[in-house]
Symmetry: C2
Subunit: 402 residues, 2 copies
């Protein structure tokens, strides 16, 4: 056994989260793509079957009340809340991330005072955020200013209405300084919207603590909600009364079954709802969130423990890559500093698309991101140090043979 | 056996759609709420289980290609197309009806020429359409003009940009004249958006034939897609190049995985997509649509046969109500003329909320609609004439006792 393999064994033996792995359906594959689609939690299939066969098939329409369908968006929002450092009553689940970015950004502009007519957006953002921000700007009479994250502070001013930022960059894995950037946006008198897609469930976010205004995120990455599972919207409690949605569907009405022709928004986070919630996907997500509560015997999973393991995994991966991969064949574009690193490692590599294909054939599943990035995501709930060592070893061997 | 019960038996015996009932999970209940939540098709649970356990659990990320997840919105749109009289390539599935109303209405205003700054909306519409229309008007600089359907023609003029209409009124069950109203909107030079929630799957719509511009609809009523299953958006082929979405998410990009910072809309109906599709709910819907293809032995279900049975069911229900219900206790607000009737019967009734509770206790499930309406929906795929006779009989008995 190599030194690194022995090290991996030691690290796995003392890993307090190793017990959580049994709550996921996994096979011999090293799955480092949980930041694209989280693995299936074992509790989900049974729950979905119950929702389909009994709740829909037998109770039918009664389930809107009796099975808690109607209140699912806010109930499941409250399950996500502790994972992103939010008190209850501030998150609703529903719609896609793109749709929630639109809601949040338009509402943010409307919260900003008169004379503020610029939306600042992270120019390196996941593209959909930029496209939606452009539409939000167009529809609110604002100008869109895409800038590199490092230039955000210098761009803020009296005209800034809203700022849309990514907590973790989807390509490089860089973690942005949410507390400092939030404070800077507030100092400029503007409203901040954070996209948590690549951080929620992988590291502490601290929405309440840092005074974040609005946030959105998907649930199919580190929250393991399943393919295309609904996204969520956070609206800080003090701002809820001023949350003026561009998508005021009947689910956000103060009295949805009053069927009133005049719109009157509901109080609280409910105001972020739009249309009828997508129950199958939503309740699959609810079951997936059970893994955070522990296995019934052990205690719940703390996001602090997840973060500690995540950093240990990415540190160890970089160490193994250094040892196994021929010099000069890959270059990490993920920051070395812990404070700047999310839960992934992105390696620039010539022919990355083909290299990733070969890795997948050999049971190491990561992601290729245009044009030359090998992206490896580390979900601390089910990835172990042995997986990490194997992934780096297979990568090294693949590149040797080339 | 009463005369009407004997008549029901005769009608059931010659019902060519009676064979389809076995494709649904039903019990002793008379289910007349399929216009709120369609019953569970028998093929759905197995399909959902496969999607969860194999496609998600085993193939994981590979399923986006290998299991056809990525192309599901347009593939399933093409399955809905023949049911609403549309050729392939004009419908995408995804998001809620409310979100699709927003997309359609904003896009409609943008298609309308300069100087057109009014949105006309059916004032008796399902409330969410009105709320969303108000938002669309506000965000496009238009004025919203809510008018009774009968007044739509007189309201149209040079300033009309877009008109949002319901094919069937959710409360009264009135069927509006889609061909004539579409022609009137076109004669005024405006763009029409039809909401098909209460007609698709219950009667012929003829989108292509009548030159409809844009249409939206849900899939959980007469299409039986399951609770909160995704809605759909129709964009007539000739208008697709001018469809300018207010929600230009990355799924609607010409090259979604190019991760380009500049937005370039995809060609065709794809342009109506937004974010990552909700796979569990979407593939449950796909399985639910199998019932229209026949049982593998018999031939497919024609929407013409569905309409014929629907009218026979509602006619027979009105006849049975006339016979069984004490005079003066209920008043139908659903039009008698076939050309003006959808697939439901709405009865105004004092204390309708309590009456419906008692009916449900006795195994007849309909809906109560504020303030005084008993709503009964007839899904020809699984409701029989015996059900209809029993529902009216139980209603009569309940009102007698009161």
């Amino acid at each position: 056994m190599s030194e690194l393999a022995a090290e991996a064994e030691k690290l796995d033996a003392i890993d307090e989260l190793a017990r959580v792995r049994s709550q996921f359906v996994l096979d011999g594959v090293v799955y480092l793509d949980g930041n694209s689609l989280g693995a299936l939690p074992v509790g989900v299939p049974g729950r979905v079957e119950d929702v389909v066969r009994r709740q829909w098939g037998e109770l039918r329409i009664r389930s809107w009340d009796e099975s808690g369908w109607w209140t699912a968006p806010e109930r499941i929002g409250d399950r996500i809340a502790p994972l992103v450092g939010a008190a209850a009553g501030q998150i609703v689940v529903g719609d896609s991330t793109s749709v929630n970015v639109f809601k949040a950004l338009v509402a943010a502009v409307r919260m900003a005072g008169e004379g503020r007519d610029e939306i600042v957006v992270d120019a390196t953002t996941f593209p959909t955020d930029g496209y939606i921000a452009e539409s939000a700007a167009r529809m609110t009479g604002c100008t869109l200013r895409p800038v590199a994250p490092a230039e955000v502070r210098g761009t803020l001013g009296e005209r800034t209405a809203a700022v849309l930022l990514n907590h973790v960059d989807y390509r490089t894995g860089r973690l942005h300084d949410l507390p400092a950037l939030t404070a800077a946006v507030h100092a400029a008198g503007a409203v901040v919207v954070w996209d948590l897609c690549h951080s929620a469930g992988a590291l502490p976010v601290g929405l309440d603590e840092h005074g974040v205004d609005l946030a959105v995120g998907c649930t199919y990455k580190y929250l393991n909600g399943g393919p295309g599972s609904p996204a969520y919207l956070y609206v800080r409690r003090e701002l809820q009364g001023r949350f003026d949605s561009p998508l005021p569907g009947w689910n956000s009405h103060a009295e949805p079954f009053g069927m009133r022709s005049e719109y009157e928004p509901a109080a609280g986070a409910l105001r972020g709802r739009v249309g009828t919630p997508d129950i199958l996907s939503m309740l699959a997500l609810e079951a997936a969130l059970d893994v955070w509560d522990g296995d019934g015997e052990g205690e719940g999973v703390s996001i602090g423990a997840v973060r500690a393991k995540s950093l240990a995994l990415t540190d160890f991966f970089l160490e193994c890559v250094g040892a196994y991969v021929p010099a000069g064949r890959v270059e990490s574009v993920t920051p070395v500093a812990h404070a700047e690193r999310g839960s992934q490692v992105a390696l620039r590599c010539e022919g990355a698309g083909d290299v990733m294909k070969r890795l997948i054939e050999r049971g190491v599943v990561g992601d290729f991101r245009h044009p030359d990035v090998l992206r490896f995501g580390f979900t601390p709930l089910y990835v172990g140090f042995g997986d990490v060592e194997r992934a780096a070893r297979v990568l090294g061997a693949s590149l040797e043979e080339q």
